[in-house]
Amino acid sequence: MLNIKNLQAKVGEKQILNGINLNVHAGEVHAIMGPNGSGKSTLASVLAGREDFEVTGGEVDFLGKNLLELEPEDRAREGIFMAFQYPVEIPGVSTINFMKTAINQIREYRGQGSLDAVSFLQLMKEKMKLVEIDQSLLNRSLNEGFSGGEKKRNEIFQMAMLEPKLAILDETDSGLDIDALRIVANGVNTLRTKNNAIIVVTHYQRLLEYIVPDYVHVLYKGKIVKSGTKELALELEAKGYDWIKSEVSVA
């Protein structure tokens, strides 16, 4: 589904990604872990199309398309979704209106007609249950005055509405208490199918207790330095990142 080859990117003059290679197939969950500043969030942002980053080399193929050539909205329409680490507050735009616009533009791109008001409401009600989010929250301005947990639940609600083929969760666990973490993870697990894939970007193993990954990759200095299964995450939790750092410097 997603095929990343030797991806390099910088922000300003600072090189952050130094040749990432990663293959993700439908039905898989990949965790990207690593110490602060290793490039985890940059990788997520580059895949979603954030313009602050300049891709300086490499290729990204998503379902046969050159992802790096697509505008952020077209990436979303092709099936990519990034749950933001810091969801943006947008006064005056309600989540409901925003989602209606998004869904209809995605449907138009895919040659489908707009959802009528009744079908949209039905879809929304169904997805709201999934992340235990209240409609009054969705009537309010997008993320404005939301708690940390509400913002993250709103991200997963949007993911549920848009049904992406590839979801990238960027530090979705940050700022969540254990109850919110459980709700968010349950939502993600319910959305997990054999046809879609998920990349979980996280600093801690905590989230991976709930969203169990098939593969774990360790990112360090802009490169994947170690890959393994979920046991690798446990090892990192026990030993910290220092042993990875020393292993890399020895090599």
Binding site: P72, E73, T101, A102, Y109
Partner: protein, 432 residues
């Protein structure tokens, strides 16, 4: 001041009007003219008109004394759909009864010239006493050469349930148009009035319109005042509007500027009572070469009142926005609460905004604040919307609309609100 040129201009403007008709209030006209001949029209160095070159516009666009003869068969296209309203129409500066109708019997409307001739007590008491003629060069010009005006009166303890729509239509099909109009309105104790002013022009020749307005809002009364400037003609409009508030009165104003060449709104609120409340909102969404200048004054003359001002602007193309907000709190106006905010978004690199708050506070026990911002659209918000599949143009429209629509919140009349909302959505291309 650029007086040499503007002296001739003043003569030309006055000469182009039919002097025989300008007889009502002859003494004050002559006095204004004498002052104007000394001071001239404001040039580029005039402090209050630094960014707004009205005199230059007049010099460039108005040649010769010819003025257009209106030939409009109807003004229906300028009405607001589904709005049940009293309609008062001026065409090229003249009140036009055939295009007007009064459906609220409790409202009295008299042409100003007639009210002056018949020594109407409202005129004796208030006319030219609320708006200081010498406060602005175009108020002087208007005083010297107003063609017609209206006196509106709402008796005590009366709620006029249908709004009043004042239409200023300028027909510039056959030539340039100069129109100078006036309003004097008195809302007596415990009454309510809602007013909508709207300007439109037809034809491609230049239009110069000055309007001077005096609004008297008595004790416990409530005025809703909405001004819509969406005139696609080659119009330069200068309004001088003064609203006088007595004890416990409530005022809501909303000024929407979307189109026109050169628009200058001088809006002054005199809070001359205690326990008054004034909300004034403004929105200017400008494109092309439009210049819109809002000069507002809130003058707190008595203690214990509240004023809140919010003006917002979005400038695209080569548009220019100007905002100047003065707040005066007089020495004995203790316990005043006065807030002001002006927020702007520049969409293009060639658009500009000049914004200046001016607070003069002589009382010491007050709460006052002001703030102004100008910037671009929030890039992080743009990316967030786009990352959900929303096109860049739609994301921009969505954000600008959300920014703008906030000022519509206080509008009470749902039909009017829908109309304004549609104007705003269309201007910002939010057609989804």
């Amino acid at each position: 001041m650029n007086t040499a040129v503007s002296h001739d201009l003043v003569k030309e403007i006055i000469g182009s009007l039919d002097g025989a008709k300008l007889t009502a209030g002859a003494a004050s006209r002559q006095q204004a003219l004498n002052t104007l001949e000394k001071s001239g029209l404001p040039g580029a160095k005039h402090e209050e008109y630094r960014f707004t070159p009205i005199t230059r516009f007049l010099e460039k666009n108005f040649t010769g004394p010819a003025s257009a003869t209106p030939s409009l068969p109807s003004v229906d296209e300028f009405l607001i759909n589904n709005l049940e309203a009293n309609v008062l129409t001026f065409v090229n500066g003249q009140f036009t009864p055939v295009f007007s109708k009064i459906i609220s019997p409790e409202l009295t409307v008299t042409p100003l010239s007639e009210a002056i001739t018949r020594q109407n007590p409202l005129v004796e008491r208030y006319f030219q006493k609320i708006l200081e003629t010498e406060s602005d060069p175009f108020a002087l010009l208007n005083t010297a050469c107003w063609q017609e005006g209206l006196v509106l009166h709402v008796p005590e303890h009366t709620s006029v349930d249908k709004p009043v729509l004042i239409l200023y239509v300028n027909d510039a099909t056959s030539g340039q148009v100069l129109s100078h109009t006036r309003i004097l309105a008195v809302i007596e104790t415990g009454s309510f009035l809602s007013v909508i002013e709207k300007s439109d022009s037809v034809g491609t020749n230049p239009v110069f319109h000055t309007l001077s307005e005096e609004w008297v809002v008595k004790e416990n009364s409530h005025l809703e005042y909405c001004k819509i400037q969406n005139d696609s003609g080659k119009i330069c409009q200068v309004s001088n509007t003064v609203i006088h508030q007595a004890d416990s009165s409530l005022l809501n104003t909303f000024t929407l500027t979307l189109d026109g060449q050169l628009i200058r709104n001088n809006l002054k609120i005199l809070i001359d009572g205690e326990q008054c409340e004034s909300h004034f909102y403004g929105l200017y969404l400008l494109t092309g070469n439009t210049l819109a200048d809002n000069h507002t004054v809130v003058d707190h003359r008595k203690p214990n009142s509240f004023s809140n001002e919010l003006y917002k602007g979005v400038m695209d193309g080569h548009a220019k926005g100007v905002f100047n907000g003065k707040i005066f709190v007089r020495p004995h106006a203790q316990k005043t609460n006065a807030f002001q905010s002006n927020r702007n978004i520049l969409v293009s690199d060639t658009a500009t905004i000049n914004t200046k708050p001016q607070l003069e506070i002589w009382a010491d026990d007050v709460k006052c604040s002001h703030g102004c911002t100008s910037g671009q659209l929030d890039e992080e918000a743009m990316f967030y919307l786009r990352s959900r599949g929303i096109a860049e143009s739609s994301a921009k429209a969505l954000l600008l609309y959300a920014f703008a629509a906030e000022v519509l919140a206080p509008i009470q009349n749902e039909t009017l609100k829908t109309y304004l909302d549609t104007l705003i959505a269309n201007r910002l291309n939010k057609n989804f």
